[in-house]
């Protein structure tokens, strides 16, 4: 008898365990977290691994140079060649140094300008704050290489072999030296001017959120102004500066447009342009080594930065609480700062666009007189002597197809990204404190550490062949959607998390008590309440994807070309005016999209927005 009941007890113990496990598994946040872990593995971890494997595997191309090897063998050939071989210097080390120089330079420039301007706007009595604020966000709607293109129009020079004069040379007769027309300095300036927006937004939010009583307390304690700045203000804005640093640095490390426009023509290569040129000739082994070097460097920098600052999630934007701080009187310095700001903002937000538009009306590049004026690049019929016979871009079918691709891609990527963001937000917030939630959060952060162009490279390695049940996606439009969604997961999830945080957990619990199952709770409670977050994630993703280049440049084919990749193709063909016209079209589309989506957000969703407060 005793043996019997013992067996029964064992049995029910297992049954109980099984039931508990099953219940855990079907808890919505657990279930969703697990799905997300799988998705992240598919989208990030496995591609990274497969890229690494490619670098140590003998490919068909390698058979010619490693005769004794056979296909699929393991080899250290690519790593040796790229890191210690004869060509290592030009293939890896010089581009690496160039990338670091550009990233640090641009980050520093952006810091000075963005931080300085934020301080002026928030803390001093400078006039015209609204306009400054508005103009400061203009770079956000421009593709990152817009300023590079404009720089090219102005400063290009006959000092470069085969070069034509730019605006400056045309009107002054002086040919700008190469260091001014191409290479490190122009790239740093172009990128720095573009990315200063992040610094401006982060630092001004942080400055706004500082309770001025903190500083006043310092004042009362008899501390000097400089001491207060150093001991109180600076530590408080440090996280914002760190966020700006990570963002700008990792973006410039992976940026392709600027270095391609201003560096490549004079043989000034960065890791990103070198990666492209290796991939372009089908040398994946070498290319992936470059990509891995790029990833490792930008990862370590970001991590060192975070160690130093000590906040893991310092890339989080700090919400402004809006205290009215004592405004500092600029007095005699006021005109100086006003002139400075006008110059800076004019040359970032207005001049580049004006110059680009102007250049599109010039029939032949390098001649800026009225006699050269034409509408050919916009509406001209095909003429074999111009633009290889392409008609004006408003008559060009390829442009319409690319524009449609851009829009389609952005809509898909933003929609899927928004949904994933909501799901990730739910999984992370509901699971707060559990190990699973931490894992999901960390996985979602990884794409942030991988520079854009390298992220694209990762996807080539994975999707050229059929992979874990997925068809070979290379060359398809779907691949562009996948890569755009994956790259923006960190942002989507942050938006998802912050909008979930605003939905008190009792709201869902109340629904559970009322007998609603998981899907009903999602549909009726969670989704409606997080929809404002969904819309802003959508908007953000839409704009970013529209003007994305680095991420997809390695993955587009003629059939899936988007507007941003068209500009690069035209530039590389030497059709500068055509490229400039396309970028204007791109910017106009972004503006229209922005207007439509914000209208949507302000209209029918207004009620949802208000009531979810």
């Amino acid at each position: 008898m005793s043996t019997y009941s013992l067996a029964e007890a064992q049995d029910s113990l297992w049954l109980a365990r099984l039931r508990r496990f099953f219940r855990w598994l079907t808890t919505p946040y657990v279930f969703l977290s697990l799905i997300m872990v799988v998705v992240m593995f598919y989208l990030v971890i496995i591609p990274l691994w497969s890229m690494f494997v490619t670098t140590i595997t003998v490919s068909e191309l390698d058979l010619r140079v490693i005769p004794e090897a056979s296909l699929g063998d393991m080899t250290s050939y690519h790593w040796r060649r790229m890191l210690i071989g004869q060509i290592a210097k030009i293939m890896t080390y010089e581009p690496l140094v160039n990338s670091l120089v550009i990233s640090l330079g641009a980050t520093f420039l952006a810091l000075i300008m963005g931080g300085g301007m934020a301080w002026l706007v928030v803390r001093t009595d400078i006039p015209g704050k609204e306009i400054i604020h508005m103009l400061a966000t203009v770079p956000y709607i421009m593709p990152s290489w817009t300023i590079s293109l404009a720089w090219k129009v102005i400063f290009k020079s006959t000092s470069v072999s085969g070069g034509v004069p730019g605006l400056l040379q045309f009107f002054t007769g002086i040919a700008p030296p190469i260091w001014l027309s191409n290479g490190a300095l122009p790239i740093i300036i172009a990128c720095g001017l573009h990315y200063y927006t992040f610094y401006f937004l982060f630092v001004s939010a942080a400055l706004l959120s500082i309770d001025s009583s903190l500083e006043e307390a310092g004042d009362l304690a008899g501390a000097s102004r400089g001491r207060i700045l150093r001991k109180i203000t600076f530590p408080l804005v440090l996280p914002a500066i760190a966020s700006g640093f990570i963002m700008t640095f990792s973006k410039t490390m992976g940026t392709f447009g600027g270095p391609n426009v201003l560096g490549v023509p004079v043989g000034y290569y960065t890791l990103s342009t070198m990666l492209r040129s290796n991939m372009g000739i089908g040398n994946y082994g070498d290319g992936f080594v470059t990509a891995i070097v790029l990833i490792l460097f930008s990862m370590t920098t970001v991590m060192i930065n975070q160690k130093l600052i000590g906040t893991r999630r310092s890339y989080e934007t700090i919400g402004g609480r809006g205290f009215m701080a004592q405004k500092m009187k600029l007095r005699g310095w006021r005109p100086v700062f006003i002139v400075l700001i006008v110059i800076v903002q004019f040359s970032i937000a207005i001049l580049p666009l004006a110059v680009l538009i102007y250049s599109t009306f010039m029939l032949r590049s390098g001649n800026y007189s009225l006699s050269n004026f034409t509408l050919h690049h916009w509406i001209g019929q095909s003429d074999l002597s111009i633009n290889q016979g392409d008609p004006g871009i408003l008559l060009n079918k390829a442009i319409y197809r690319a524009a449609w691709n851009s829009i389609r891609l952005s809509l898909w990527a933003s929609f899927i990204g928004g949904v994933i963001g909501v799901i990730l937000g739910y999984a992370i917030v509901k699971g707060r404190g559990t190990r699973l939630s931490k894992i999901v959060e960390q996985l979602a952060f990884i794409p942030y550490l991988i520079p854009g162009i390298a992220f694209g490279a990762v996807y080539i390695s994975m999707f050229t062949k059929s992979f874990f049940g997925l068809p070979p996606l290379y060359g398809t439009f779907a691949l562009l959607v996948v890569v755009s969604v994956a790259k923006h997961i960190p942002h989507s999830s942050r938006t998802g998390v912050s909008s979930m945080m605003q939905v008190g957990s009792e709201l869902e619990e109340a629904a559970a008590i009322s007998g609603a199952n998981a899907w009903q709770r999602f549909k009726r409670i969670i989704f409606p309440l997080t929809s404002p977050g969904f819309v802003s994630a959508f908007l953000l993703n839409f704009i970013t994807t529209m003007r994305e280049l680095s991420l997809i440049i390695l993955l587009v084919t003629p059939a899936t070309a988007v507007l941003s990749s068209m500009t690069m193709r035209y530039i590389e063909n030497g059709n500068e005016q055509q490229a400039n016209a396309v970028i204007i079209v791109l910017i106009v589309l972004v503006l229209i999209g922005n207007a439509i989506i914000s209208r949507f957000r302000g209209g029918s969703l207004k009620k949802g927005l208000e009531s979810s407060k």
């Binding site: 619990e509 007998g515 199952n517 009726r524």
Partner: protein, 362 residues
């Protein structure tokens, strides 16, 4: 339909190192209104959430209406929706994107009730909380008190047989709170639903409950009627926690049959067969004051006099010795006046100093 009994057996719930509910057992009879009372952080909310199924205990068993809703041993845990209970949250948790009507019909829609029936239910439940005509309002368009009523109506509408209420009145102002107390008691009386009510307001607990469970650190200290809890607190903690002004706790030692020595004087107490170190618990209203020397009276000085309208609290001192005394109505005693205090033997509770348990019960 008979209302369910709730049986909680050896339930434990921990959060990391914190033991929020500690091996707790409680039996709640059908149709009772019981209150979980205790200081902040003692595990009241956690226990309520365990009953509701929003939290899964680490151990133990919970039975509602003869149905096991949770059992660690059997691996069972019914989802909240299948436990036939309603919960009102401390912050109401009304869905901000739905009108009152939608808030109330949410549960009914899930039960696939017909439109006419739903309209009927909404009308009824709004009438019960005196909020007729508010169907189309959004939660943000109502005051806290009104939202509170809607939260109640939302629960009443689907007629659960167990009500769980987590400090439902704590966000209301004092006046409204008294009104709502009356209504809640009435609602319970009418519906006879078995009710578990969480509060840390002892007056609320005293006035509303059939039984009070006084909790401390996740453990029920005493589970009894309000009268018993007030007059015969079974533990020093309960004696100290219940009552306003606070009970007088005097340390002393048993000095003879029915006599305890406290400081210099001897207090007559029903000592049963206790000996050694003890603590006396004397309610302020159980001490008699006289303005002249009386037999068995101890001389004190009125250190402070605190009138509150209906009664007056007098803080009496004798050396370092301090007692609160409550007198009905307005007192004529003035500060620094000499007064004589008498203790009533049969009203004094005696606690073992070591175990802190009541030793002269009954």
């Amino acid at each position: 339909m008979p209302k369910p009994t709730i049986i909680i057996e050896n339930v434990t719930k921990t959060f990391g190192d914190v033991v929020a509910v500690d091996d707790l057992s409680l039996e709640i009879d059908s149709g009772q209104f019981i209150t979980l009372l205790g200081p902040s952080g003692c595990g009241k909310t956690t226990l309520l959430r365990c009953i509701s199924g929003l939290e899964e205990p680490d151990n133990g068993e919970i039975v509602i209406a003869d149905k096991i809703v949770f059992s660690r041993k059997k691996g069972i845990s019914l989802p909240p929706g299948q436990r036939d209970l309603g919960l009102v949250f401390q912050n109401y948790a009304l869905w901000p994107h739905m009108t009152v009507y939608k808030n109330i019909t949410f549960a009914l829609e899930i039960q696939k009730m017909s439109k006419e029936d739903m309209d009927q239910r909404v009308k009824e439940s709004l009438a019960q909380v005196q909020m007729d005509g508010y169907e189309e309002r959004y939660p943000r368009e109502m005051s806290g008190g009104q939202q509170q009523r809607i939260a109640l109506a939302r629960m009443l509408a689907y007629r659960p047989s167990v009500f769980l209420l987590d400090e439902p009145l704590s966000n209301l102002d004092a006046r409204l709170r008294i009104d709502m107390r009356t209504e809640l008691k009435r609602l319970h009386h009418d519906s006879k639903a078995t009710t578990v009510y969480v509060t840390h307001d002892q007056l609320e607990a005293m006035t509303m409950s059939t039984k009070i469970a006084v909790m401390k650190l996740g453990v029920v200290q005493q589970f009894d009627t309000p009268n018993q809890v007030y007059h015969y607190p079974s533990k020093l903690f309960v004696a100290d926690f219940i009552g306003n002004p606070k009970i007088n706790l005097l340390e002393g030692r048993v000095s003879g049959k029915d006599l305890v020595q406290v400081g210099k004087f001897h207090v007559p107490v029903n000592t049963k067969d206790a000996s050694g170190e003890v603590v006396l618990g004397i309610r302020p209203e159980d001490i008699e004051i006289s303005l002249e020397p009386v037999e068995h009276g101890e001389e004190f000085i009125a250190y402070s006099v605190l009138p509150s309208g209906a009664d007056t609290t007098i803080i009496a001192r004798q050396g370092e010795f301090e007692l609160s005394v409550k007198e009905i109505g307005v007192s004529s005693i003035e500060m620094d006046q000499k007064i004589w205090l008498c203790f009533r033997k049969d009203t004094i509770n005696l606690y073992d100093k070591q175990t802190e348990n009541l030793i002269n019960a009954g």
